[in-house]
Symmetry: D2
Subunit: 213 residues, 4 copies
C-alpha cells in the first residue's frame, strides 16, 4: 500500500481511499449488515491507515470512494450512506467523495457540505432508471473494448448511455471508471483517454496532486 | 477503539498507539521476523487507523509504545527498532515513544530526535542487566500487589529495583507500567498512585491532553 | 479451541460446531450476503477445523449449530439454509443440526434426512409467531434470572412460552439455550437444570459422548 | 479451496495440505515464534479445514508439506518440527510428510513412524551442506529454465546438484519442487517432466489418488 502511495506521489496521481466492508476474503463484494457506528468506524480505520501510508510517502489522501457492495449499498441513501459521510465529516471534510452519478448518495453528500464526484461506468450495463445491472444478472458487463470506448465518449460528450432496455439514460458524470481488474485494463484506459481527447473532451484530474500541502 | 478514544478525550487521558506485530490470534506476544519495510508499514497502518479514531472523537494520538513481542524485539536495537522509528519520523516526529528504561531503543529514539519516555515494570522480574525476565521463565511476574506497590515507590524515589539475582538494578524510568490485563489492575493502579503520592512523588502525565490541538 | 475440546472429551460434554459468517470483528452477529458456494465452503472450513481439534483431543464433533446472524438468516429457509445443509450432507450427514424450534430450517433439515434438534430460548423474548424479538428491539432479552428459570420449566413441561404480545406461543423444543456470555451464565444454567429436575423433567444430552467412535 | 479440491479429485491429482504460520499478509514467508501447542493447533486447524473441503469434493488429503518460513524452520529439527509432527500423528498418521531432502526433519518424521517424502528444488541455489540459499541472498534462485531442467534431470538420475560454492552436493530426493508462483511455472513443469522421461526416469505420484478411500 505504501509503495503504491510512493509511486503515486512521484507521478502526481491522486490518492483515494476505496473503503469497503471488512470482508477481505470476499474482496468487499458482499453486503454486510453493519449499524451506523460499526460502519463509520470501519471507514475511519481504513481512511486512517491509508492516510498514514500516504503521509509516510510524502503525499496525502484527497478523495474517498466506497468499494464493491458498499458502493451499491449507499447509492439509495439510508443509514449506511449516513455512516460513510459521518466518517468523512469527522476525519476530513475536504475529501472529495466519489459515487454513482444520479444517486441519492450524491445528494446526501452535497447536503453534508462535502464535494461529490459523480461517476459513470463505461463497462457496466445500465438499467433505465440509471442504476447498474447487478453483477449476477445478464447484461451486467460490457466486454467489448470498442463498445466501452464508444460508451465513454458518449457519456462524456452527450451525457447519455444506452440502457439494457434499449432506451437512453441521462448520466451526468464527472468521472468514468475503468475497473483495474478487467483484463487489458491499462490498454482500455489508454484507449478511452485517447478517444475522449480525439472527441475534444479535456481530461483533467478531479482531485489535487497528492504532494500538494 | 473509537469509543475508547471518545472516553479518553472526555476525561483528558492521553491516547497512545500500542503498536504490535500483525498477530491478532497471538495478541502480539509472538516474535515475527519482518524486514524493515514490512514492519514500518505495519506500524504506520496501526498508527494511522488509531489516529483516525482519535480524530473522529475530537482528540489526537500523542505517543507510541511497541506492544508485546515487538517491545522486547526492539529493546536491543537492530533493524526492527529502526523500522519503528522510521514510521514515527515519517508519520509524526512529535510523537513521544515509550520503551524500556535503559534500552538501546531509548538511545536510538533520542538519536533520531524523538522524545523517549523510559518505562519501568513494577510487576515484572528484572535481570541484573536491567532487562526483564521473559514471561516463560520463573520470576517473570510479581504477583503480590503489596510488593508491586513497594517496588513502584522504590523505582520512582530511589531509581532502583531488586533483580531476580538478589542485587539491585538502577532503573531511570519516567513511567511505571501496570498491565491492564492483570487481575485487579484498576485497584492496583490506584494503590500504586496513592503510595507514590504518599511518598511525595508527583504523578503527572507524560503526554498532553488528547484534545489539545 | 483444542484445549476446550480436550476438556470436553475428559468430562463427556458433546462437541458441536457453532458455525458463523466470516465476521470475526462483529462476532458473527452481522448478516453477510453470501451465495450458496461461499457459505457452504465457509461452513465446511469451520467444521473441518473444529473436527481436527476434536480428533487431536481424542474426540469428535457430533452436532452443528448456526451462530449469531446466520442462525436467524437460515430460520425461514432460503438459499443460505440450503448452503448450511449442503455442507452438513457433504461432510458428515450423521451430525445433528440445532436450530430454532418451529423454523422452516427445521423442516428443511429433516427433509434432507438430517437429524434436527429444536431449540428454545428461555432468556429471549418471543413474538406471537414463535420467532425471536430481534436484539435491537425492546423485549429482546429476559434479564431476570428467576423469570428465565420459570420460562425454562414451562417450555419443557407445557411446551409454551409467553410472547411479548402477552399471548402464549407453543414451542416444541428438545433443547433450551442459555447464552454463555450472559453474566452469571454458569449459575443460571445450574438453576435451570435444578428447576427442570425438580419439575420432573429428565435432562439428557441430545448428542453422544465426544469420545464414542 | 473446495473448487481446487473438486478439480483435483476429477483429474486424480493428490491433495496435500501446505500448512504455514498464521501470516496471511506475509504469505507465510515470515518466521513466527510459536510454542509447541500454538503451532500444533495452527497446523491442525489448516489440516482440518482442507480435509473438510476435500471430503466435500469426494476426495481426501494424503500428504502434508510445511510452507514458506515453516518449511525452513523445521528443517533442522527443534520444537517447531516436533509440533508439526505432533499434529500429523494426532490427526492422521497415514499422511505422508514432505520436507527437504537430507534434513533433520526427515529423520524426525521417520522416527515418528510417519512416511517422509524427501524433496529437492531445481530452481533454488544449494549450499555445500545441502541447505538452500536463503531467498534474500544472491544465488537463491535459478532463473534460467533450461538450467532448472538440467538440474532436475541430474537430481533424479545422479542424486547430485551443483552448489553455489561450485562443489557438488548429494541430494537423495523422491520429489522435485517447481514453485507454482514462478512465471511460466506450468511450461517449466512440463519441460522438467519431459526431460525426466527422456532421461529414462519414471515419474510417479508419491501419494495416492484423492478419491481412493
Amino acid at each position: 500500500m505504501r509503495r503504491v502511495c510512493a509511486v503515486a506521489v512521484e507521478r502526481g496521481v491522486a490518492i483515494g481511499a476505496q473503503v469497503s466492508y471488512p470482508d477481505l476474503v470476499g474482496f468487499g463484494r458482499r453486503f454486510v449488515d453493519m449499524d451506523h457506528d460499526e460502519l463509520r468506524d470501519t471507514v475511519l480505520y481504513q481512511l486512517g491507515a491509508l492516510t498514514a501510508m500516504a503521509t509516510a510517502a510524502g503525499g496525502r489522501v484527497t478523495y474517498l470512494k466506497p468499494h464493491g457492495a458498499l458502493y451499491h449499498a449507499v447509492a439509495d441513501g439510508g443509514h449506511q450512506a449516513e455512516a460513510v459521510l459521518d466518517a468523512v465529516r469527522r476525519f476530513d471534510p475536504d475529501l472529495a467523495v466519489v459515487g454513482r452519478a444520479g444517486s441519492v448518495f450524491g445528494d446526501l453528500t452535497r447536503a453534508a457540505g462535502v464535494r461529490f464526484v459523480a461517476e459513470a461506468f463505461a463497462d457496466r450495463g445500465y438499467r433505465p432508471d440509471g442504476s447498474l445491472v447487478p453483477r449476477r444478472e445478464p447484461g451486467a458487463l460490457v466486454d467489448d473494448a470498442d463498445e466501452v470506448v464508444r460508451r465513454s465518449v458518449r457519456l462524456a460528450s452527450e451525457r447519455r448511455v444506452l440502457s439494457v432496455s434499449g432506451d437512453d439514460v441521462v448520466v451526468h458524470a464527472a468521472s468514468i471508471c475503468v475497473h483495474g481488474d478487467t483484463p487489458g485494463a491499462v490498454h482500455l484506459a489508454r484507449s478511452v483517454r485517447e478517444a475522449l481527447e480525439r472527441a475534444g473532451v479535456e481530461v483533467v484530474p478531479f482531485a489535487p496532486h497528492p504532494a500538494t500541502p
